[in-house]
């Protein structure tokens, strides 16, 4: 058992200060990085995916050094990674653990599934109201059509 834990630890090394985003669906790791604008991040950034997970089968994990996200910033990822957990690390110690929460609004993250929506035909930021946080349904501010979970695509 101890050996297993040790092995896991070695796969992604610990960070001193920052945020660990755990339980990210493997397929969404790179989307999460993009949404959080981490592609140009200048500090240490550790990314692992397709790790074995008891809960999820396969999971991804992202460790961001020296970064503490505001909740409206981090909650954007709930649209793609509703299972994600956030772990706040200070001095190698876990200070706080929490689940991401689906936000009330989503601005310029998701694409409207309606091909005839003006947002898919002009340069416009998309805006959605989340009308169902459990089944994940988003109402487009422009065309008023509802984009459901199975149709959600990243912009």
């Amino acid at each position: 058992m101890e050996k297993d834990i040790l092995r896991k630890e070695l796969k992604v090394s610990a960070i001193e200060n920052g945020t660990v985003i755990d339980h990210v669906p493997s397929g969404s790791v790179f989307q999460v990085i993009k949404i959080l604008n981490l592609t140009e991040y200048q500090n240490q950034l550790l990314i692992a995916t397709n790790l074995d997970s008891q809960k999820m089968g396969k999971k991804g994990i992202i460790k961001v050094s020296n970064k503490f996200f505001k909740s409206d910033e981090i909650n954007k990822i709930a649209l793609f990674a509703p299972s994600a957990t956030l772990i706040i690390i200070r001095n190698f110690e876990v200070i706080e653990k929490k689940k991401v929460e689906v936000p009330d609004y989503a601005e310029n993250i998701v694409k409207c599934f309606n091909p005839n929506c003006i947002t898919n035909n002009e340069e416009i930021s998309t805006k959605f109201t989340v009308i169902d946080k459990i089944d994940l349904k988003l109402r487009c501010h422009y065309c008023e059509k509802i984009t459901a979970r199975k149709n959600i695509a990243f912009r």
Partner: protein, 303 residues
């Protein structure tokens, strides 16, 4: 309502809808008033719609306004590749209010966000056509004396018709009992039906037109569009299902009025036109008064 855009029927409250209907009533009594002489109204029809455009232009002209605009995208700079954004930013320099119809859903909302002058949505794709809803409410109130506690049947294509969706949602404010008559393939979408359920209003769904006629105060007919069917055989099955003939109206209530957003094709036979219960052409005229009320109140000429 001064300087406010009208994009979606839900942008205005129930009280504001009533205010527009009252104002429309005043314009019906006195339709020619030169109260908009100082104003320029632009009608931008990126997609042709003769009826709606003429109705708006008639409303504006009868109030003395000058009308500029285009009647379809091919006679505008859209064909040169201009974006909607640039068209709106440019045209809004030339006029005091923009009436627009556009084939894409959400176009009018977007226009209202970038324009410094108010926008009236005259149809954005399959999404909203609020002035049609207001003229329908006006017609119902005028013929029935009130909007409350009426039995209203919607007949035909309830799935795709935005006119039906908006009017059902607006009538949910008035304790309406709904009778929904359509082929099984063209039933009212669940999102719209949910607005009826949320208000705990009564409704029935059936495929039989004749059975609902004696029960209702308003019979709202719609056209079944051939292009909505993937299988032409399915269309053949239902295309004659909902044809209203004068002989079917024998058992109707005396106050029944027949409405239709027009254009009509075959769903109401012409022998109904002479029946005093036929209201669809009067309904179209009411559109002019409602649009006069909207132009005058949004331009701030009346309160």
């Amino acid at each position: 309502m001064k300087n406010r855009s009208l994009i979606s029927i839900n942008d205005f409250t129930r009280e504001e809808h009533i205010r527009i209907l009252d104002l429309a009533g005043a314009f019906e009594k006195l339709p020619k008033q030169r109260i908009l002489e100082d104003f320029v109204v632009a009608t931008l029809f990126f997609e042709p719609s003769t009826r709606t455009r003429l109705s708006f232009e008639s409303a504006a002209t009868r109030l003395g306004a000058r009308v500029i605009g285009f009647t379809d995208a091919s006679s505008s700079s859209v064909t040169k590749g201009e974006s909607l954004r640039d068209t709106i930013l440019t045209v809004s320099n030339y006029c005091d209010i923009i009436v627009m119809r556009h084939p894409r859903e959400g176009s009018a909302r977007f226009a209202s966000e970038i324009s410094k002058i108010p926008i009236i949505n005259a149809g954005d794709g399959s999404n909203q056509h609020p002035t049609q809803t207001l003229l329908d409410l006006y017609s119902i109130r005028k013929t029935q004396g009130s909007l409350d506690n009426l039995n209203v049947a919607f007949v035909g294509d309830l799935k795709y018709g935005r006119t039906v969706h908006s009017l059902v949602q607006a009538l949910c404010n008035y304790r309406t009992t709904f009778h929904l008559v359509s082929p099984l393939e063209l039933k009212l979408p669940s999102t719209v039906k949910n607005s009826i359920k949320e208000r705990n209003l009564e409704y029935s769904q059936s495929t039989d037109l004749e059975e609902v006629i004696p029960k209702v105060d308003i019979l709202y007919m719609t056209r079944i569009q051939k292009e909505r069917f993937s299988d032409p055989l399915d269309y053949e099955k239902v295309k004659y299902a909902y044809i209203l003939r004068n002989s079917m109206l024998a058992g109707a209530k005396p106050n029944l009025k027949i409405m239709h957003p027009l254009p009509r094709v075959s769903e109401i036979t012409t022998d109904v036109d002479d029946n005093p219960k036929a209201y669809y052409f009067k309904q179209a005229l009411n559109g002019v008064f409602v649009r006069q009320a909207l132009l005058a109140s949004i331009l701030g000429v009346v309160e």
